[in-house]
Structure formats: structure tokens, C-alpha cells
Point group: C2
Chain length 414, copies 2
């Protein structure tokens, strides 16, 4: 593959630091090299430093990327996303604009179930084509690694179909996808009023097959009133862990049901959403080392105003992550820069904390902190070049596409 030298960035945002998720004040330490450069060989970062240092060792065959006046950052890592689905929910978006609530729409057969119907109706090839188009959207927004959840199939065959699409996204797009099995996203219509039987199906039929086919690394569940209660959550996630999957959890989104504490009890890697989580949940996550994954785009998109207590979580020493929650119902944005804007303006996170949250901390939450998430020697050369001179502009000039180019494994993909 040869080598690529990046020279004369306005700022090289290395995010260099300890080889673990960053918490508290560490989240504001970004390892900025003004005017910095980087040498990449065979897709891996070989040297990071001043542009003078890089130029001294410049191999003859190196492609030079002159980044003058631009900021270079680690590729963005989206740790919570639902990119595989049939159809869209633009009709519901309009209904909400006219005043209907998410809950009212769900009660009328809309919501997750409407996407389940469209996803089941789509062939594997159709789903793949749709998801590939969306992968290009993520790339345009600077994302180089992302999670992808199943959860719009809700039967053995349909969940396997979604997970195969995720595997094929990995093979056919430059983005690295990390698969999460979310069979417990909602109760399918055919199990209406039989939640325990659906839990049986999840634990006895779906989980073993997902693991046998090595289609997922993580298992997730929507722990919420009207979806999966604490008893089901314990049962499903314990079985998933016993089968060899790591755990994530949709917790405390609509009500404070003790989800964060339950995630801590079960040893989940992350607890996600947390809009209703308060002090005791934060303390439990801290004690167990759970990373909070905050999803302000869904709060915004639903027209709500209660955002998670990001400030308290960071000040308590949690290693926070920000993610898009990309999905057709409650968070139709693939843009992590947009999420940074929301986090700064609505949750009072600083731009530095936001950047740590969408790079190195997100990478650790997906089990890839040793390989990606920062620009350090030995890591994969996934990086983004932005049309601005100060990284904070990414959150500041919102709604404006500032991504100039995107490199994955040292190769330009956008």
C-alpha cells in the first residue's frame, strides 16, 4: 500500500494518552500538535510529530497530503447506531411536527413496529443496498468505525438477515462495522401480550444461533416500561454473556427504571440513553466502570428538552461517549459533528470533551481502543481532514459540512 505523509495541519488532534477510556478532566486533554504531521505506512501510523520531524524521514515513495489550514482528527467512531432498516419514517416525522407524540404514534401502529414491517418485507439485497447508501452518509460526516444493531427483525430468520447485512456492510464498504444483536428491541406483534414467551425465543433460539454463526460481538436490550422489564433484561443479558457476547443496554430513556444500576449489576460495557438517570445511577456506573453512551440527537429530534446529565456524569469521573443513535424514528442523523453541537449547546459539554467522546472513548466502548480512536504510533490510520483551523469549529458552525476528506487504513475514501 505504500506510505502517506500528512504535513502542516493547522492542528493535529492526536488524542494521545493512557491506553484506556478517558474520564473526567482527562477528557479535555487532546494532545494537540499545532502544525503537526504524521507518517502512515501500509495503513498504520508509523510516526506522529511536528511537520519538520515527518519531513526529515520522508520516504521517497510517500504520497504527501498537504493539510495546510486544515484540522486533522482521528476518524469518528459512532458507538450506537441502527443503520439497517427498510423504508423511512418521514410520515411520522410530519405527524410529530403536527403535534403527535412518539408514544401516540407507536400506539397507532407506528414507531419501531412500522420499521419492523418494512424491514421484514425487504430482501437481504434490498436492505444491503439501503444500508450501503447510508454508510456513504456516515462517511460524508467523518465516521470511520460504527456500531450497527439488529432489532428490526424480531424473529430468528429476520434478525439473522439483518446481521448478515451488517457483516456484508463490513465487507463492501470502507467503514468498520461492529455488530450488536438487539433482538430485544421491542415485542413483535405476533408475541403481543406474551413477553415471557418472546424472552424464551430470544434466549433459547435466537441467541445461540447468532453466537454459533459469529454474527455479533455485543448483545443489547431496550430496558423500558412497555418493552423489556428488569426481570427480562436480567434473563436475556445474562444468557448473552454466558454465550460469549459483551453487553450494551438501552437504559432510562423514557422513565428512570433503574436501568443504569442494572447495567452496572450485569457488567455491561455501556449504558445508553440515560435521559432519566440520576445520582444513584451515575454512582453505580462509576463503581462498575460502565461507560455512558449519550444520544442527544434523539432528545432533540423528539422535541424533548430533558437531556442526560452529561455534566454530572463527566464530573463524577465517567468515561462518556457520544453517539448518533441513527435510526428512522427518533434520531435521523448520521452526523457526529451535529451531535457535538447538541452536546455543547444543550448539555454543556465542552468541545474537547465532545471530541474525546466520539473518538477514543467510543473506540474503547466498542472494544477497539487499542487499534483506533487516536492518532498514535501503531494505530490504524483512520483520520478525517476538516475545513477549519480550530477543532472547536466542528461543533460551532453547526449544520455546515466541514469534512474535507476521510482516510481509512491510510486510504482516501471520501
Amino acid at each position: 500500500m505504500g506510505s502517506v505523509a500528512v504535513l502542516h495541519s493547522a492542528q493535529l488532534m492526536t488524542l494521545a494518552g493512557p491506553a484506556r477510556p478517558r474520564s473526567g478532566a482527562e477528557m479535555r486533554e487532546l494532545g494537540i500538535i499545532s502544525g503537526g504531521g504524521m507518517l502512515v505506512r501500509d495503513g498504520v501510523i508509523e510516526q506522529v510529530g511536528s511537520s519538520e520531524e515527518i519531513e526529515r524521514n520522508l520516504p521517497n515513495d510517500a504520497d504527501v497530503l498537504e493539510a495546510r489550514g486544515r484540522v486533522v482528527l482521528p476518524g469518528f467512531v459512532d458507538a450506537h447506531a441502527h443503520p439497517v432498516f427498510g423504508g423511512d419514517r418521514v410520515e411520522e416525522f410530519e405527524m410529530r411536527a403536527r403535534g403527535a407524540t412518539y408514544e401516540e404514534i407507536a400506539a397507532q401502529g407506528g414507531g419501531i413496529r412500522s420499521t419492523v414491517r418494512k424491514t421484514r418485507a425487504a430482501s437481504e439485497e434490498e436492505l444491503l443496498a439501503l444500508a450501503q447508501k447510508r454508510a456513504e452518509w456516515f462517511l460524508r460526516c467523518g465516521t470511520t468505525t460504527m456500531e450497527a444493531k439488529s432489532g428490526y427483525g424480531l424473529s430468528l430468520e429476520e434478525e439473522l438477515k439483518m446481521l448478515r447485512v451488517i457483516r456484508r456492510l463490513n465487507e463492501t464498504t470502507p467503514i468498520e462495522f461492529v455488530a450488536t444483536f438487539l433482538g430485544a428491541h421491542a415485542l413483535p406483534e405476533e408475541y403481543e401480550d406474551r413477553p415471557n414467551e418472546y424472552a424464551d425465543c430470544l434466549v433459547e433460539e435466537m441467541l445461540p444461533e447468532v453466537v454459533r454463526q459469529e454474527l455479533a460481538e455485543y448483545c443489547d436490550i431496550f430496558c423500558e416500561h412497555g418493552y423489556f422489564d428488569a426481570v427480562s433484561t436480567r434473563r436475556v443479558l445474562s444468557a448473552a454473556r454466558a454465550a460469549g457476547l459483551q453487553l450494551r443496554m438501552h437504559a432510562d430513556q423514557l422513565t428512570n427504571s433503574g436501568g443504569a444500576a442494572l447495567a452496572a449489576e450485569l457488567g455491561a460495557v455501556t449504558a445508553d440513553h440515560l435521559e432519566q438517570t440520576e445520582e444513584e445511577g451515575i454512582a453505580a456506573m462509576k463503581a462498575a466502570g460502565v461507560q455512558p453512551v449519550l444520544l442527544p440527537a434523539s432528545v432533540y429530534s423528539l422535541g424533548k428538552t430533558r437531556y442526560p446529565m452529561a455534566r454530572d456524569m463527566i464530573d463524577a469521573g465517567l468515561a462518556a461517549v457520544l453517539a448518533t443513535d441513527f435510526n428512522p424514528g427518533s434520531s435521523p442523523t448520521p452526523s457526529l459533528p451535529m451531535v457535538m453541537s447538541l452536546a455543547c449547546t444543550q448539555m454543556k459539554m465542552t468541545p474537547a470533551e465532545c471530541l474525546t467522546s466520539i473518538t477514543v472513548n467510543a473506540a474503547y466502548s466498542l472494544g477497539r481502543g487499542g487499534r483506533i480512536g487516536s492518532l498514535e504510533v501503531g494505530k490504524r490510520a483512520d483520520f478525517v481532514v476538516c475545513d477549519c483551523e480550530d477543532y472547536r469549529e466542528l461543533a460551532y458552525w453547526f449544520g455546515l459540512p466541514l469534512i474535507h476528506s476521510v482516510y481509512i487504513r491510510g486510504r482516501r475514501e471520501l
Copy 2:
């Protein structure tokens, strides 16, 4: 210039309708032609209809724009923007993310005054280069006509410098700029505690020279506690009207000071912001035919939650406009699609109302409704092609750049 034929759009959003601003339910009538097309000759729309009709008359020399699978809309019109300024306010953005309020930052010498210092320190050439870069940002977001306010000079020479930059933007970029004199944006430091003397300066020195040099079509004022009170507002705007300018007004942004009613009394074309305006202000605007210009991006960006009562205004029959309020302090976004998202999710406007608000209604508010703002025969061929199949997706998939290409006077500019 020759001719251009647009064929086979997914939706041609004509916005055809009565030759006046659209109010109430009219705002939801978009004149959509599914699969529609358009013939443009010498920069002017000559025919609009089904693609079959357009193809029947296709001139031999026509460039064909095959829009299959894409939506074609009128170029967006931004009726409230401050694109000319020195520096940025990314430091203040970070201070606000850390919890400081806009008012606290202003009290420490930040806010508008910090931009005034940087704007005065910049040469006319420097200001022009900065504004040209920003004009490219607007173009990337689909804007083809926009207002540009002075107001960071606050002295005769410095305001004239800004207005000359706006004139030169018109000459050197494809976007049409409409100049508004906003000498009454804030009290300059050298007039601290002497507001009446600054009003003298505005009325006796600045206004006559701006008019003599034909540098502005509109006069605007920041009517607000601590800025310009009702007495000064009456004086300045009456003088402006007598001198031949039309009126716009920053009204009821931070407090309800009766600004909307005052705008009605003074015969302003628009009253802008209106976050604090209530029923009586709405009634006064309705009686006087004032168009409300709503700026949700500044509410969002300041981390506030009180948005203007858009629903009440539209239901009362006002011809609402949405605009970016682009400026370095309170609204650093050039994106009208982002503003549509904010209007739908935070103010419960429908996507259709939003589209009318950023096209035909905005054009009328800038005195150009007869020439731009809709895709009708005889109008200028300013149009935007978007990578989506339903216009509502522009507001739905937020943070994602969906603009495929932008045409002004029938010529591709992006």
C-alpha cells in the same frame, strides 16, 4: 446563455400560487409536480410541467439535467443574516459550553462588541475575503439569495466599509445579496452611556450617507433593553423610512418590550426573532401585514428553550419566514435545511410550512417575491437539486448535507 431542461425530478416543488406572501393554510400548498420538469432559457424559467411536456418542446441546444430520483426546489432565500464580520467567537462558544450566559459574556467585553473590534481592525479586502468564503458555505447549503446586514462597524466609516463589502459580495459571488443597514445593532463603546448622541449620529450622519451612496435597501434596529429602546427605535426607523429605506426590526428577542407591536406601528416589512412575542403582538402584526421572521437557530445555539410561537403566528394568518440569523455569536449556522429541522422539531411547524418560509415568503419579505422564491414561468431560474425523493427529507435527515447541486440564473454554481 442558452437553455437548460430539468427532467424527471422525483418532485418538482414549484411553490406556485398567488403573487403575494402565503399565509395560514396556504403555507402548506407547495404545488408539487411528481416527476416534473422545467425549461430554462437565458436564466429565466420558460416552462414548468410534466417531464413529457418539457421533452416535447426540447430545444436542440438544451443542456439536459436528468434529475431522476432527486427533488428540485426553488433556491433558498435567507431573509436575516449577518455574514460580514471579522474573526469568530469560538472562544465564547466554549465559554457558553462551560456554563457562561450570553449576557455574562457581553458584560465581560465579549458579545457583539468583540466582533465590532475585530471587524473594525480588518481591512475592506480582508472582510470581503472572509465573507466570500462564507458565501460559499451558504451556497453549499442551498441558499441563492440572502440578506446581509451591516452592524459590526457602528461608525460612519466602518458601516460604509461593511456595506461596500456587501455590494462587492453581490458583484463577486453568484448569490444575490440584499443589503440592510443595521448601524443600530449595539451602542459602540465610544458612545457608552450616550445613547441619544449615538441616535443623533445614526440619523444625522450615517443614514443620509448610506442612502446617498445607495448602499442599502432596508434599515434594521436591535430594539431591546440595554440596546435601543422604543423611543430611539421610533426615531431611527422613522428617519430611515423618510430617507427611502424599508424597515426590518429585531423585536422581542430577550424580553417582550412590545417590539412586534412597534414594528406594526412603524410599518416595518418584517419583525424578526419574536421569541417573547405573545397574542397582542401577533394581532398587531396581522393587522399591519408585518411578516414574522423566525430564527430558531439562535435559540438553539444559545441553549435556550423558549422558541417563538410559530404555530400561533401561522394559525393567526401571518406569512411566516424562517431564516438563519447567521452570525458569529448567537447563530453560527449558514444552513436553512438545519433551520427547517429546528422549526419542525422545536416549533412544530410542518415541513411544508418550513419550505414556504424559506422560499416564497422569504423572497417577498426581501421585496423580491415577483422575481424569485418559486419555480414559475418568468421567474429567475434559481433552483436546488437535493439527494432525496421527498422534500420532507430535507428537514428529517438533519445534519446531513443533501444538497446535490445549486443553480442560479440557470447556471450551475455548486
